[in-house]
């Protein structure tokens, strides 16, 4: 609970431009790998399909890990930065 003297500061930070470029690239690769996996399975190229699924899973995990890591590593804005 807070009393009237507490100050709650919410900081909203814009993501840097390169984040969006990276996210776009990541999404493009994910789509490409999943499409390759599905198409290769349809074409009876099972090894290609398996490798594509594995690569898609690794890329997905890397994306989630990177996103979480970036979230957790944000430092709170110190009082002396506020001015």
């Amino acid at each position: 609970m807070t009393n009237g003297d507490d100050v709650v500061m919410i900081t909203i930070r814009k993501r840097p431009w390169w984040f969006w470029a990276l996210a776009e690239l990541w999404l493009l690769l994910e789509v490409l790998l999943v499409q390759t996996a599905l198409a290769s399975a349809r074409e009876s190229e099972y090894r290609a399909a398996a490798i594509s699924w594995i690569a898609a899973a690794i890329l997905a995990a890397a994306g989630v890990f990177g996103w979480l890591r970036r979230r957790d590593s944000r430092k709170p804005i110190e009082a002396n930065e506020r001015s």
């Binding site: 431009w17 470029a21 499409q35 390759t36 198409a39 349809r42 009876s44 090894r47 290609a48």
Partner: protein
Amino acid sequence: MEELRKPIGRRSLLKAGGFVAATGTLGWLGALVTGVGTGSNQRKRARWVKTVVRPTLGETNADYKRFSGFDMFALYRPLKTQHEGTGSFEAEQVSKAKRLIAWTNEKKPGFSLPDQKLSEGAWTVMRSSRPGTGLLSWTRTPGRTSTEPSAQRYTASPEEMANTVKAAARLYGARLVGIAPMNESYVNLQVPRQDEKEKDKDIVFEDVDVPEVTDTKFVIPRKMKWVVAIAIPMDIELLARTPTPLGDAASALGYSHSAFVVSSLAVFIRGLGYEAIPCVNDTAQSIPFALDAGIGELSRLNKLVTPEFGPAVRLCKVFTDLPMAYDKPVDFGLVEFCKTCKKCAEVCPSRALSFDDEPSFKTKGPWNNPGHKTWFEDSYKCFEYWQKSGSACGVCLASCPYTKGDQAWIHEGVKAIASIAPATDGVFRIMDNAFGYGKQHDPEQWWTKDQPSDRRG
């Protein structure tokens, strides 16, 4: 109001620039891969397939002459006898027949009775088509009146004529069609006899109005200055089962489809009031015409490789006096890719393909036509392996990195990059192996798949 307008910051500019660049790159890649319509009935070609003035490989020198017409089918027997003595060919055939019977009884995958009969069935149309007769008749179709003197001849601009003929060819089953100028040096000297009772017949060019087939010769009118070059894709699900009779059905079907397409197209052209000579593998070399017509490029296999179907195509052609606009040869970076790749030569069971880094004019035997630059193959070794394996082989066709199904988008992207950046060829070759492409598929599994194959067409 001016005060409310925020100035555009560097960050916003960079973000907008990044978005535009990313969208532009995606759009460019999409356009490069999918290509644009040509406005004709030609199959849409990707932008990375560029037209050029001369074929990228296959240049000729003074030694280039009309080929005898005696290919490996005609030459194998005498060469076998020459190498291994009288009776060696016959002994080999007996041994092959016994082996095939044993494999049939054992139900060896790919050699079971249904596998063998599937191939035989697929050959039916081709085996009933002989140069100058039946489907491959050189003369006007009996009963058709449009070529009679009173009938009107269809006329249009050369471009419109080319479009019309390509549309018809595609309807009949051609997937790639191009128009090349007639080149007499690509036409064989003879049509070899098909059995002992017959004679070899000369192929000659004469100033006559209609093609003619006599007891001694085949006559091509000199006015036939146009060649419709056609590629029929092979079923790569079957081809992936080579070397077995099941795999051979892919070639058989390709040839039978070719016979159907060229004979239908010849009747169509005659119906428009012109002359037409339908040919499959006979009468002339299909590859140089296909090169000139922009169907594909010459490869390490010493065969044509198309951008769309790789080397897994069967070629055929129709000679005609119907005036059409010519197409141009193409370049999609294949020759440079072949210099690096060498996968076909490595997987060839008979070691018949060249490992040389560069193509040359050096032939390997009488089955090669000298005087043109390529990677010549040892067809004798290849045919000898066919006898041992009990079936025609097509491992080189199946293993080529350009032989792929058309469903995965990434393959188009890879081909597009290879066409403009030869430095990536080695990486793509390694990836092709790593992904397991080009390996033989289980023959038995073919019979349980949904038919027909949806990988091509």
